[in-house]
């Protein structure tokens, strides 16, 4: 059986290959941007008989500081791109077995690009949905 904590940590490790991006395998109280926070949204059990596969839906919230709006958006755009050294999708899928802890994983979409309020501070953020198949 896959260990959810290990899956989180493996996703964070893949994200850490992006230069300058902090990562958090758990949700921090006071994030220090730019940071990618791994969150678990849904687990679908019994995708095969005999617990052959479980499907995990993670979201990765990427938060950047909004001191300079234009700079913040350019930085977030780079994270959302499908190519380049800052691309979240490429980083997550750089090791699709997550160190051998999963069968496969794929970044399916980016949603919720916009401002978020965390501890009375406004940041710019985007969410990436990641589908992880493991047992």
């Amino acid at each position: 059986m896959a260990n959810i904590t290990e899956l989180r940590e493996a996703l964070a490790a893949n994200l850490a290959t992006i230069p300058g991006l902090r990562t958090a395998a758990t949700i921090p109280d006071n994030p220090s941007p730019p940071i990618a926070v791994v969150q678990l949204n849904r687990v679908q059990y019994h995708q095969d008989f005999k617990r052959g596969m479980t499907e995990y839906d993670f979201s990765i919230q990427v938060i950047v500081g909004r001191v300079d709006e234009r700079t913040a958006q350019r930085r977030l755009d780079a994270y959302c791109s499908s190519d380049g050294e800052s691309a979240i999708g490429l980083a997550v899928e750089s090791d699709r077995t997550l160190g051998g802890k999963a069968f496969d994983c794929i970044v399916t979409e980016m949603t919720n690009y916009g401002s978020v309020l965390i501890s009375d501070v406004t940041y710019l953020a985007a969410e990436f949905n990641v589908r992880v198949l493991a047992n």
């Binding site: 995708q47 095969d48 008989f49 617990r51 596969m53």
Partner: protein, 137 residues
Amino acid sequence: MPKQVLTDVVVQLNGTAISQNVNSVELTTTADAIETTSFGDAGWRTYAGGLKSGSVTLSLHNDYAATALDSVIYNLFNTVATVTIFPAGTPAGTSRPKYEFAALVDNVAPVSGAVGDLAVQNLTWTITGAVTRGTTA
């Protein structure tokens, strides 16, 4: 259990369990309805059971690793394979029946899916010969 959720179904192909790559299984048997209607049946059609046949439908999650599911299935194409299904798990017993039969592997689908989809094979094979229901291991 008076009612049961299918979670531990065991599917064996030529004696090898493939359950952990099986998402869905359906075994269907039918018998021909041979009409025996005659005068004196008060206007109602009557039938007798004729030849029996069956099919098995499997939804599989593919695995392309060496000696894994894809190679197993593909190498069985156009051959007859022994399929055993334990709906309530193994070993077979009075409340855990097993269904065993030979199936003609007359179709395989090594690749099926769009970009981003899980690799699957949805197959229906024709049963050749009898389907037996056993309650002993």
